[in-house]
Amino acid sequence: QQQVKQSPQSLIVQKGGISIINCAYENTAFDYFPWYQQFPGKGPALLIAIRPDVSEKKEGRFTISFNKSAKQFSLHIMDSQPGDSATYFCAASLDGQNFVFGPGTRLSVLP
């Protein structure tokens, strides 16, 4: 119930392409869904987040799509750049504080 599933485990995209990472959850009580970006040797950094009353949120090239009925949410990176190469984690929270993280997706954007 507390688990967040994430796919794919790794992703290779050409520069300018669209990167899509998917996550799924079971616990319908989750009320906050952030995405974190992590570069090697650094801690995860908040990228974008959404609440379940919204179906989509866009910030620059990053968009979260949220499907409450399917209990799924996804991150889309438009016009992917080599600088986007990192590990991406989805997460879900019950109370806005205690987060459950997905296993991560390693994204490589080829120049």
């Binding site: 974190y36 650094k42 801690g43 806005g96 296993p103 991560g104």
Partner: protein, 112 residues
């Protein structure tokens, strides 16, 4: 930019030694988290404090791990005795209630 500061950044020690990791949360944040990251298990929550009080440490092996917040500017995670399986990157994060967490850059721990 305010940052979560973790020390040391790297630690190599022998099995059986005590290890202490320190975290300075962002000033004004009232929640502190300790996570462990490994290739196999990903990010695991070890402990969680709010207003310096431990709220959840169920992810932590109680016999060898301990987490404390002696004051609002310092959180510590201790391992005694350390074992090779404790080798991982340990992250501290801080935040405010109903706000996202901010992570430090971690302590990379290697137990030989």
């Amino acid at each position: 930019d305010a940052r979560v500061t973790q020390t040391p950044r790297h630690k190599v020690t022998e099995m059986g030694q005590e290890v202490t990791m320190r975290c300075q949360p962002i000033l004004g944040h009232n929640t502190v988290f300790w996570y462990r990251q490994t290739m196999m298990q990903g990010l695991e929550l070890l402990a969680y404090f709010r207003n310096r009080a431990p709220l959840d440490d169920s992810g932590m092996p109680k016999d060898r791990f301990s987490a404390e917040m002696p004051d609002a500017t310092l959180a510590t995670l201790k391992i005694q005795p350390s074992e090779p399986r404790d080798s991982a990157v340990y992250f501290c994060a801080s935040g405010l209630v109903h706000r996202p967490q901010h992570f430090g850059d971690g302590t990379r721990l290697s137990i030989l």
